[in-house]
Amino acid sequence: MGKTFAEKVLGKAAGESVSAGQVVIVEPHFCMSHDNAAPIWKTFKKIGVSKVWKPDHLVFILDHAIPAPTDKHAENHMQIRQVVKEQGLKHFYDVTSKGGVCHQIMCEEGFALPGLIMVGSDSHTCTYGAFGAFSTGIGRSEMAGAWATGQIWFRVPESMKITVTGKFSKGVSAKDLILKVIGDIKADGADYMSVEFHGPAIEAMSLAERMTLCNMGIEMGAKNAVCPPDKKVLDFIKPIAKTNAWEAIWADDDAVYAQELNYDLGKLEPCVAKPHTVDNYAPIGEVKGTPIHQAFLGSCTNARIEDLREAAAILKGKEIAVRTIVIPASWTVYRQAMKEGLFDVFLDAGCIINNPGCGPCMGNHEGILAPGETCISTANRNFQGRMGNKDSNIYLASPMTVAASALKGEISDPREVL
């Protein structure tokens, strides 16, 4: 009987053969924290250890509220800089042109690697599965524990296999696939599970598209989500890998799954997640014409260069009808977009471009909604009040759908403007 990806990676780390349901204690290769490194430090100090386990295993990336919008945020950032100095941490991404959204940086900078065990004090840490890592979000106490001991416990998860075939039709993208999957199995459909994406359509996808899929694994409750570490992944990571501890590990063909699903990309259409849950799927036809007040193209889900290109292709030579906020996922993406002339497209259309970071995704700053307003967003959550106002609505969609909607001031079908 074969093993799943999770069984193989966790088994390797634990030094024994393991199966779903077993509890293992393993050492994570990288521990990522963002602005919440400040409160984690407070908890860490309570343990009574003065030095972190392995300073080179810690990665701090400021992104949630940068530059600091309030005194409290500023104080947290200051505290983090002190910790970095005191503990001698080398992997620190401050508010500089080397930074960006934490998950983007982890992937761009060669931390996200095949076969590694990675934890982050952020729920979208599952993104690194796009590079074949076993990566998952954890809470602050747990992160403090990992800093102190270099260890973390996991229950080896059951696995779900999602096999994807076919080709996207015009105007349809990875975001539409993942919103459809979540709509089908619901917000708790993969609770505690390891979600594996298989099939020729996944292999045909860019790394950016795979990141979008894995990023949203948490929105169906998954512990982690992962794509095969194929040649595309290896070609990308080899020159930039931050450690040589990685190994391309993938599920056996005869692995046993708790659930198997199949999707044909050719059957998908542009879609949205309606307010106020991510599993509230609707095909574009059902919501077309809904008035919007803001469009947001950003976040760890969909703000890579590929996403910006797709949006720009729709906005080119046209003018937006509602305020549109563009936030590239990192300064590397920012620079690339600038070089390619995408900024001219966005600015000519009337969009504004903010500094890389999480922006308004979780309602911290840079685009909070007013009561009664509706936003269409490329981010990952549309929970009530998420963007700062309880009486506002958020529709989640792909970069193409967001761009098409920004042009009309109402939710629109990207196929009509492509």
Binding site: N36, T43, W153, D188, R381
Partner: protein, 177 residues
């Protein structure tokens, strides 16, 4: 009265209660757990008065996937420090569950709770009697009973120590010996 038997009022919630609704992003910069209860459920429609009216000993009762969404531990602290002794739900999101256990905060998986809430068999304000050892929940107001699952061994050890940090401290002490 036996301390393993708790009595209090129910605050009843639906399925998929997300962490944004339990504790909003707006207050994430807060780092002192004791200041967190006043923001509990501020954005939850119909439960805006929770923070003001919750009494020490009241229970939070919910359907499936309680605490889905972000990894913020505030969503555990705000209820723990509000004096809610245990959360009763049909199921919990993975991160929320771990955060609770790691803070020595009891949560009980209760079969059939989601449907019972939908059917009105357990309502806001009902008087509940919860036997933590047996995992038994009795709705004293209407006589319905529900059964919860016990937690696994490792989780039990962490809980017994009072949370992950205390557990790790104990382990560190053991090593020194």
């Amino acid at each position: 009265m036996d301390k393993t038997i708790l009595r209090g009022r129910a605050w009843v919630f639906n399925d998929d209660v997300d962490t944004d609704l339990i504790y909003h992003n707006k207050y994430l910069a807060e780092t002192d757990p004791k200041n967190m209860p006043k923001y509990s459920f501020e954005y939850f429609p119909g439960k805006e008065n929770f923070a003001k009216e919750v009494k020490e000993g009241d229970f939070v009762v919910a359907g499936t996937n309680f605490g889905c969404g972000s990894s913020r531990e505030h969503a555990v602290y705000c209820l723990k420090y509000a004096g809610v002794p245990v959360i009763l739900a049909e199921s919990f999101s993975r991160i929320y569950y771990r955060n609770a256990i790691n803070n020595g905060y009891p949560v009980l998986f209760v079969k059939g709770l989601s449907q019972a809430i939908k059917d009105g068999k357990i309502k806001d304000g009902d008087e509940l009697e919860v036997n933590l050892l047996k995992g038994e929940i009795k709705d004293v107001t209407n006589g319905n009973t529900f059964h919860g699952d016990a937690v696994a061994d490792l989780e039990k050890d962490i809980m017994k120590a009072g949370g992950l940090i205390e557990y790790l401290k104990e382990k560190a002490e053991e090593k020194k010996k």
